[in-house]
Symmetry: C2
Subunit: 437 residues, 2 copies
């Protein structure tokens, strides 16, 4: 099935808002097998919305409109669609009640202007909005003169509302419309390997992938998400198809898989630390606080993260971390010896189980033939000793910082997995988090 997206909003045309909805919808619709043939973005004007609709109706089976469902005067999408299709709006009593209840829960009365959100074009189904006021709208079937049409969807433009309604109500209906009764999706999270490396490990997937199973690679600064989509006659068939392929993927990729779903690497590493009752400290040079920032983006990080230091000059490496002058002079600040000493030093200074360090040449300048820009050492220390890894990254400073953070978190993860395999290291009960957020 082909789909046209009609994204509505003046804010998109004047560049106040970037159209992330179009990309999200494109990715999700492609994953369930639809072909998005175009995106048309227009302002909050009846005539433009009408023209965009006509263009989509001319050759698409599915039309998806975003934006313009709210209560203000510039929310004109629903009215324009109703007019274009000759399906007048009618106020639905049960939607008025639902809206009134929603406002009541927030201690407010339903304002006069909000009643329009209960108006639905004839023949349309209202789709529950789990995170906002305006319902989504779904129409299935053809309209006069447009025999190819299978469905029309109208969803709010606020990204998290759009996504929630699409996930809960629209994507399942579109799957069903394609003659499949069920769709299941799962995202497998990997780190430490690029797309082509992962593809090589997975080998030839022709026998796996096809109408019933799809796989998308979604790379992001050193991690790659693998989105698996399985279709089937019912949920059980789709689910078992997905499970079989997931087992194959996990088997092939081994430790490269760090989790699933919407989790971040820092969440997963934090959870690993918490479960084992391990506390972490960081000593950063080239990443300049970005590792600490990532770790503390996770709510409750104080349960396993004691803190860290950003040591940009040699004096603070010596004073705060006890790095030896000898190592700094003989090996240089960007060296295996200094990375190990920094990790051990911060572990001692903050009295934690694990110390993690970064030291490198982030760029754009400062490289030498021996140690070009992008040379980064990561250090790790625990009660068993120290460990270090060398990265060869890029000429770009910010990119190097981002990639180093991912690699540093992955180093902690891999060392914890190694600890787990050693006799006597059991997963302990979690510590109570410290009383600070």
């Amino acid at each position: 099935m082909t789909a046209t997206l009609l994204t509505v909003g003046d804010e998109l045309l004047i560049g106040q808002v970037i159209n992330t909805n179009a990309a999200w919808l494109g990715e999700r619709l492609t994953a369930i097998g639809l072909h998005v043939n175009r995106v048309i973005t227009v302002g909050d004007e009846d005539a433009e919305i009408h023209a965009g609709l006509q263009r989509g109706l001319a050759d698409s089976e599915v039309l998806i409109c975003t934006g313009g469902l709210g209560p203000t005067h510039d929310d004109v999408t629903k009215r324009a669609v109703a007019q274009a299709l000759g399906r007048p709006l009618a106020r639905r009593a049960e939607l008025v009640d639902h809206l009134a209840e929603r406002y009541r829960q927030r201690g407010r009365e339903l304002p006069e202007a909000a009643y329009v959100m209960a108006d639905v074009p004839r023949g349309f189904e209202a789709l529950e909005n789990p995170v906002g006021a305006a319902p989504g709208l779904w129409f299935r079937g053809a309209v006069p003169g447009v025999p190819g049409l299978r469905a029309i969807v109208i969803v709010p433009g606020v990204p998290f509302e759009m996504r929630a309604i699409m996930e809960a109500s629209v994507l399942p209906r579109l799957v069903e419309l394609q003659g499949e009764s069920a769709i299941v999706q799962k995202t497998i999270l990997t780190v430490g390997h690029g797309e082509s490396d992962l593809a090589a490990r997975l080998g030839d997937l022709d026998e796996w992938l096809g109408d019933g199973l799809r796989l998308a690679f979604l790379p992001n600064y050193g991690t790659v998400r693998l989105r698996i989509t399985a279709l089937g006659d019912d949920r059980s068939e789709a689910g078992s198809r997905l499970a079989t392929f997931e087992n194959f993927v996990r088997d092939r990729l081994g430790d490269a898989v760090f989790g699933e779903g919407d989790r971040s690497l820092e969440e997963v590493v934090g959870e690993m630390l918490r479960q084992r009752g391990l506390r972490l400290a960081t000593a950063e040079s080239c990443t300049g606080g970005r590792v600490a920032d990532a770790i503390t983006n996770v709510a409750g990080a104080s349960g396993y993260y004691s803190g860290g230091v950003v040591v940009y000059g040699n004096p603070s490496k010596i004073d705060l971390l006890g790095v030896s002058r000898g190592a700094l002079q003989e090996e240089g600040a960007v060296s295996e010896a200094v990375a190990r000493q920094m990790a051990a030093g911060v572990r001692e200074a903050l009295k934690t189980d694990i110390g993690l360090s970064t030291t490198g040449i982030a760029g754009p300048s400062g490289g030498t033939p021996d140690k070009p820009v992008g040379t980064i050492w990561l250090g790790y220390a625990d009660e068993g000793g120290t460990h270090a890894v060398r990265l060869h990254l890029t000429p770009d400073r910010t990119l190097n910082k981002r990639l180093s953070v991912t690699a540093a978190l992955n180093l902690i993860r891999r060392q914890i997995l190694r600890r787990d395999r050693q006799p006597g290291n059991h997963v302990r009960a979690p510590l109570a988090p410290e009383n600070e957020s």
Copy 2:
């Protein structure tokens, strides 16, 4: 003049790439007075490009196409435009030479496939691409059956190439096309005040703004960029119009203005420190390393930044920074007293001129009636003593971190300005940067 944008690329439809070009173009075209009536995004297919062109030609004076100008088989935009307009492609010898020279400079021979980048539709002008291979294309005038058309533009889809060609060649031509001979733009950077506050300080701008002068507010996590666009018969008229308004703006906004152009607050603060020979250290609790990360995103930060600590628990606040147990017990970790002690403590520990601290409740949990989520204290210490400010931010953890970083950098900036006004504090010669990047 109205403009239609035609953004071409399969990667946009399947959601692999977010269409940032459309937002950038929308903002810039609006700034010079064009009305963008729609954005049409299609894949790398002749028929779709053709249909999009026809839609734009039907009611727009200007048509801007992005993407599909490169040397690979899916770069079809130029050919499709040439066919749609009946203007055949011809290879330009001078462009072949230019491309060959470009490849030669990189030690490579011009590959056969790259010759197509020298093909130009009849009547089109090739626009120099200062940062890439494929030239932009400009056509001025009408085509048969489309009397309203004023210009057609084709630029590459790679964002920095598109931007470079637009800035250097296309925007000036579009300004001229509107009957203005010159356009000048300037961006004034402000911090610490929201859009509405800035608007109130500027007062009624009706007498200023109009055809010859435009102002856009571009907010971003505590900073607001004010983009001023002045038009005129010649550069001197436009420039003097801009200068007069800029003086007015700077006069009204005073210290809220921290710079101009594309600079970041961390760059400006870094430059202020460097010029005065001042060194900085940071002690972060709720921002968890994000202040350090921002500061060290600037190349050469080691010239004025010695490092910092991330102190997430009370023990490390005491051990590393010498914060007193009494203050922690009586006032709590999120308090004016602790913020001041942290700033003074890190200044002493890292032997710097200035210490900066953050302590607060980033959320989502951890708030109390007294200190709700979003309560953040910032501390500042220098040789004259300590200073602290309290922020009341949001329930959102990541947003609170971002806003706190901006506020912390602004605190340093304002304290340096205060120092400058004290007798005896002169701007000293800059220190030599430390030998680390």
